[in-house]
């Protein structure tokens, strides 16, 4: 699966010895968080293959933007695990300490979807949320699978 390029940003995976790094890149912090979430979904299945209109609201709060990214990704992991949903679209509002989001997805049906591997949790390894000199935001960390 190749990383997706979107008008509002893009996501990619980066290598880690045992697991998978997720990276969201976008003109805004909220966009980078949305793209990082798509990279998380892409650990399981190509988000471009997903439709569905089931909606989940997620709120997070953290002392800094890096912890907020980990909290955000872990909240998605939790919703995936307990609601058995897989999300293909995200709408995020954030100021770097507080995040409000909607995740849109469909049931994680192993008979209909080929699901690769389960994300166990977002980690603090290679964790970074930063704005480059070009003004583009990057949000990344390694996810344990």
């Amino acid at each position: 699966m190749e990383p997706q390029t979107l008008l509002s940003g893009r996501w990619e995976h980066f290598p880690h010895g045992a697991d998978i790094g997720v990276r969201g890149i976008a003109p805004t912090l909220a966009g980078a968080f949305e793209q990082a979430a798509l990279a998380l979904t892409a650990i399981v299945i190509d988000p471009a293959d997903l439709d569905g209109d089931e909606q989940v609201e997620i709120d997070c709060e953290a002392p800094d933007a890096e912890l907020l990214l980990v909290d955000w990704l872990n909240a998605i992991v939790y919703e995936m695990a307990t609601r058995r949903l897989i999300f293909g679209r995200f709408e995020v509002e954030t100021d770097g300490n507080r995040l409000r989001a909607k995740a849109f997805g469909r049931p994680m049906d192993a008979d209909q979807l080929e699901l690769a591997v389960e994300p166990k949790g977002a980690t603090y390894t290679a964790l970074s949320v930063a704005r480059g000199e070009d003004g583009v935001w990057t949000a990344q960390c390694v996810v344990d699978v």
Binding site: I20, L67, T82, D109, L115, K120, D144, V145
Partner: protein, 476 residues
């Protein structure tokens, strides 16, 4: 890893002397070839572990060490509570008490071969494997809390397995000191439908051939005979352990400064053993150990049902059940004095030597079976704990082949379908819900497991007993 700066003590022992903020040296047990193959991050991480408060003797890397979270995977460190020692959620890992359980079939490889496809299908139907698969067991919150206290003991009481199984599980199947009240509602909710499921990633259920026997006397005690078949189950505490790891890692990262702990890496988040956070994590982590032990016990029951449908009358007693992501309180002799230490093993197996009081009577003279999981295309190994291992690394050994390549790179190199077809030509049946998952777990993405087992043997951490090769692999 570049060997510059490493002092070579022997063929398989390398030392990084304490310097800077390191409180103790770091010791790596591996051949030069395995060290060269390790990521440079392993050195950085084990040096960081050596800076933590209350660490005793040294920070150790097993021969299968690779880049982890704070601690390297394949890392061992012991902490003394009387010297300000800490407990670290990253030093245990997300999949608390992930481990391997091996069962004796009493069947020859020839008997398995005659019904191999039928057996593979029966196991694949019986044991839920892979993301999105569900078990048939649902536990309400009250039952979850009882299970978290009871472990495999609880599972046997529920009819999953037999009383005699518990003798061959670490802690006799129940980790004492669990505090289910320290496990969050979220962690419990995540696990309520996951008991008796294998999970995904590197988890598996294999029917294996005893391909080589290196130590006939010990193999006989472990009931491992050449060209007979065994079954090995590799999985852990599933969603519950992951959620506990996530929550306590965050809590420890945020509270470290309050306890005056200078973290060289956020992922090394830890808390003093005596602190409220430390004690809460200890209780929750022990509950997660019980969850993993119960999970492997339920899967054992499902495996027995599947086998009975193909080979009526086969009983599948346990060889042993080891955990490799834990923190346990153990008494060890340090400089001639016994001390109660909090031994973290992150991707490392406990390896008690002969005579240890906690071993089952059947293995008291031999030492503990050390089960090293391999890949679906190579081999696994059974080793035995040695007397010298206590002085080398607090009675620890390696846990698996250890990855040598990222999943990212593996996906670029291999396709799952080709791997499944190639292994079928070699006589190994793979059953998996995901070709992509198979590609990520390609045998070529792992270190040479034979070299890892040989290094564990040569260093004295444990002694080789037998080599197991896959016949059937149900891939998580």
């Amino acid at each position: 890893m570049d060997t510059t700066g490493l002092q070579r003590i022997s063929e398989c022992e390398w030392r990084i002397p304490a310097s800077g903020k390191m409180r103790v040296p770091a010791v790596i047990y591996a051949t030069e070839a395995l060290i060269v193959d390790m990521d440079e991050k392993v050195r950085e991480q084990i040096v960081n572990v050596a800076t933590l408060p209350g660490i005793v003797s040294a920070a150790y890397c097993m021969p299968d060490a690779h880049w982890g979270y704070g601690f390297p995977i394949g890392g061992v460190a012991a902490f003394d509570p009387d010297e300000g020692g800490v407990i670290s959620a990253g030093g245990v890992g997300f999949d608390v008490s992930c481990g391997v359980r091996t069962l004796y079939t009493g069947l020859t490889v020839a008997e398995i071969e005659a019904k191999k496809a039928e057996l593979a299908d029966a196991l694949f139907r019986s044991v839920p494997a892979g993301l999105g698969s569900r078990g048939s067991i649902h536990l309400d919150v009250k039952a979850m809390r009882v299970m978290l206290d009871g472990g495999a003991r609880w599972a046997v009481d529920q009819g999953f397995g037999r009383e005699e199984d518990l003798e061959f599980v670490e802690e006799r199947g129940r980790m004492a000191g669990a505090r289910p009240d320290k496990v969050s509602d979220q962690a419990i909710k995540r696990q309520q439908d996951e008991m008796g499921t294998l999970g995904s990633g590197n988890h598996y259920l294999e029917v294996q051939r005893v391909a080589e026997v290196y130590d006939e006397d010990t193999a006989r005690v472990f009931r491992l005979a050449r060209d007979e078949a065994v079954v090995s189950i590799h999985c852990g505490s599933r969603g519950l352990g992951h959620q506990i790891g996530t929550e306590y890692l965050r809590e420890m990262a945020v509270s470290a400064a309050r306890y005056g702990i200078d973290l060289p890496d956020r992922e090394l988040a830890c808390a003093p053993i005596a602190s409220e956070v430390g004690q809460s994590y200890l209780g929750a982590m022990r509950a997660a150990i019980n969850c993993a032990l119960a999970n492997r016990q339920i899967i054992t029951h499902l495996v027995r049902e599947a086998f009975a449908s193909v080979f009526p009358g086969v009983e599948l007693p346990l060889v042993f059940d080891v955990s490799h992501n834990t923190c346990k309180v153990e008494r060890h002799n340090v400089d001639g004095k016994p001390r109660a230490l909090y031994v973290h093993r992150k991707g490392a197996t406990r390896a008690f030597g002969p005579g240890h009081a906690e071993l089952p009577a059947a293995y008291r003279e031999t030492g503990q079976p050390v089960i090293i999981g391999g890949t679906m295309g190579t081999a696994s190994h059974v080793l035995v704990g040695t007397g010298e291992s206590e002085a080398l690394a607090f009675s620890s050994s390696c846990h698996g082949a250890g990855r040598s390549m990222s999943r990212h790179e593996a996906l670029k190199r291999w396709q799952g379908k080709q791997i499944v077809e190639g292994l079928a030509e070699q006589g190994v049946i793979i059953r998996s819900r995901s070709y992509r998952g198979v590609a990520e777990e390609a045998p070529g993405a792992y270190k040479d497991v034979d070299a890892v087992a040989e290094a564990a043997h040569a260093s004295g951490l444990s002694r080789r007993v037998a080599k197991l090769t896959p016949l059937v692999c149900i891939k998580g």
